[in-house]
Amino acid sequence: MSTGQEREPYLQMSGIYKHFPGVKALNDVSFRLFPGEVHALMGENGAGKSTLIKVLTGVYSIDQGTVTLGGRDVAIHSPLEAQAAGISTVYQEVNLCPNLTVAENIFIGREPRRFGRILWKEMNRKAEQLLRDRLQLSIDVTQPLYMYSVAIQQLVAIARALNISAKVLILDEPTSSLDRNEVEQLFKIMRKLKEDGLAILFVTHFLDQVYEISERITILRNGEFVGEYEAAQLPRIELVSKMIGKELELLGELPRAGGEGRAEAKESLIEAVGLGRKGAIEPFDLLIGKGEVVSLAGLLGSGRTEMARLFFGADRPDQGQLLLKDSQGGVHSPRQAIDAGIAFCPENRKTEGIIDDLTVRENIVLAMQATRGWMRRIPRKRQDEIAEQYIKALNINPPNPEHLVKNLSGGNQQKVILARWLITQPKLLILDEPTRGIDVGAKAEIQKLVLSLSQRGMSVLFVSSELEEVVRVSDRIVVLRDRKKVKEMQDDIGQQQVMQAIAGG
């Protein structure tokens, strides 16, 4: 803290509130940024990182709170005003035009002109100078951008963001598509910019990178400010535990899974051998036994979702294979997976789970109907019975099968998707973050369900970012970090060990 106290922060945001209909995106959040530092903003999905950045860059308005820049109160109404105030942003998706030249990309919209005519030579010269002086990059700026690697493109995006008056640079996950060497190159530039006195706000999901480059860390969770820390004084494991938080103490007593049966060697159901997908998850081996609950634990972006999707054929692997014990043939598409008895509740309910305009009943029977084909329609009476039965069994609210699914709460939508798969009686149920964004009661119900399903012989692949939950339901925990399977834990699972494995280092 000592360095922080001596100097004046260049940017100070305090008491920031921002809500969207139904969501408190930011709830009394504070943030400080000093000149000449790299400051990491950390948090899991929905923590409010993106909202905070968008508020700062004038994309969203602020409900309440103050922003001071260089000691003056400011109100930023648009990205253009943010630029003028010296705040430059490089967003997660690089939004450059690959077909234009490097120089054109840097100066697009503010080309040097005389009498409305663009001074091309002047522009190229300036671009070259900017890249050389500030980013130590000597490339031919008259070449189209697509000629260069993603890393160079990333640097060009930074060059565009840096106009002469830039005081604050925001990098939103700049490294997610870079390899190790490219990250090194980027970090070298970031250190140089830091020495030039720039204040850099850095968002990433890679823990190693946070500790490598940043001096200080601000953590958000569920739209709330958790704290601001010196990177050197915050152990990894504490960082992880602060990001994940603990709210499951509310859940009360749930029987811990298993008992006697789990010690026995389980008969294998499905096995991944060297399965991998470039840019998503490095090749891994994983065996899931009959009636076993296997959890994938790791931070956001660690590759847990990607691994789960490979098991369902939702994404195509580019190496390795998936071996099914009961049936011949592999799993190359969701349909083949379903036919092989695999079911998948995706992480993103709204875009990949529910069909929001259809009723609860229609959503529930969808997968079963798909396997029966269009000719053999499930009779309406049977549909009603199924819907009624599962609405009751899973406690879906409101208990009306003709209600449109889009009008249900997140937790109830999740139960509808669960019901959709349970009626197909799968052998393996893949649940990707089934409890995210749903209330505590519904969470407990879903956890109980997972346990009772596994006791009846169904295997479950369970992905969650909440450690208590993972520890509670699993027979075995697979830990992922930075798109790699790093550990498999069979016995004496404790939260502490899992967290240690997630944090690594």
Binding site: H77, I355, D357, L358, L366, R377
Partner: protein, 345 residues
């Protein structure tokens, strides 16, 4: 109280408004129905008769639009189907022979199914955006139709063929019975099998449908096939009604009227829920509007402008979100990006 929430409320209200307008403006011409030689005659009957091809095309268009697609080629398929049938009949020695008639109908429906398959494959297998994929056939189809007719207007002299488009059954135009039959088949296919569920599901959320195991490829091919079939039958009725095939003008701009009918009927262009009954009412609104414009004596050079204006008004009145959007745009005018968020949260 909740009657205005029903999906047919606004289409029916619009139709009623048009009919009401005629009641005040031209009650005699519009509402008179005469019985001549056991057949019914009158403007209302004409609307049903002349509207038949449009209703058919619009029914086919509905299921395509429900999958989030669109079929611009229906007008051309109408022309091709009529041309094929008339060509076959005109080559026959006895133009009234039953065998010839069956051959003509089978040929034109067959070729339309092939064209539907072509559209379906372009959209589902090759993955071209529907509006572009069907634009190909919309343009090329006119050429094909003219190729079939050798650029001439083929005239046929067949009472049997003429019956399809201008015959009467039980005092009503025969085409009305064709429409009822196709409508019934469409309803049965989509609501008595699981096809309707699959169509709505694929149209509303393709990626969720894929993960639920629906083979969207076959669903897409099926709807384009059906749309082609509907256009072919419409083409038969049209060419039969005038006993000739005009490759150049038959079914011209039908795709636009059909899309309009679907939208007025309450089916969203973004796909998902679809309403076949709504579509039929939508087509009737358009046909009634066209007839009304002729009857009240709008100068021919501005009929299209008047039609466009009325259609615009109809669409705006129907739109629940229209007023909401206006209000919301005003409230979030300073932060355009928030509009998106507010819409999706």
């Amino acid at each position: 109280m909740r009657i205005h929430k029903h999906h047919l409320f606004w289409p029916l209200a619009m139709l009623a408004a048009l009919l009401l307008f005629n009641l005040f403006y031209a009650p005699e011409d519009f509402y008179t129905i005469q019985v001549r030689n056991g057949h019914l005659y009158g403007t209302l009957i004409d609307i049903l008769n002349f509207g038949a091809p449009l209703i058919l095309v619009a029914i086919g268009m509905t299921v395509v639009i429900a999958t989030g697609g669109i079929d611009l080629s229906v007008g051309s398929v109408v022309a091709i189907s009529g041309a094929m049938a008339c060509l076959t009949i005109s080559k026959g020695a006895d133009q009234d022979a039953i065998g010839l008639l069956v051959e003509a109908i089978a040929l034109s429906i067959g070729i339309a199914l092939l064209l539907g398959l072509w559209n379906g494959l372009l959209v589902s297998v090759i993955g071209i955006q529907p509006i572009i994929a069907t634009l190909i056939l919309m343009v090329a189809g006119r050429g094909i139709a003219q190729l079939i007719t050798s650029g001439q207007i083929i005239t046929v002299m067949s009472d049997r063929y003429g019956y399809i488009g201008s015959g009467s059954l039980l005092g009503l135009p025969f085409s009305i019975f064709i429409v009822v039959a196709v409508f019934a088949v469409a309803v049965l296919l989509t609501r008595r099998t699981a096809l309707g569920l699959f169509i709505e599901s694929v149209g509303r959320n393709p990626s969720a449908s894929r993960l639920a195991g629906i083979r969207s490829r076959y669903v897409l091919i099926a709807v384009y096939l059906f749309c082609g079939l509907c256009a072919a039958i419409a083409g038969l009725i049209l060419s039969s009604n005038v006993s000739s095939a005009d490759g150049n003008n038959a079914g011209l701009w039908y795709e636009l009227d059909a899309i309009l009918a679907v939208v007025i009927g309450g089916t969203s262009l973004t796909g998902g829920r679809f309403y076949l009954t709504g579509t039929v009412i939508g087509a009737l609104i358009i046909q009634t509007l066209t007839t009304t414009i002729y009857m009240i004596g709008v100068p021919p050079e501005i009929t299209l402008v008047v039609k466009a204006f009325v259609v615009l008004v109809v669409c705006l009145i129907q739109s629940e979100t229209f007023r909401k959007t206006l209000v919301q745009r005003w409230q979030t005018r300073r932060y355009p990006a928030e509009r998106e968020v507010a819409k999706h949260v």
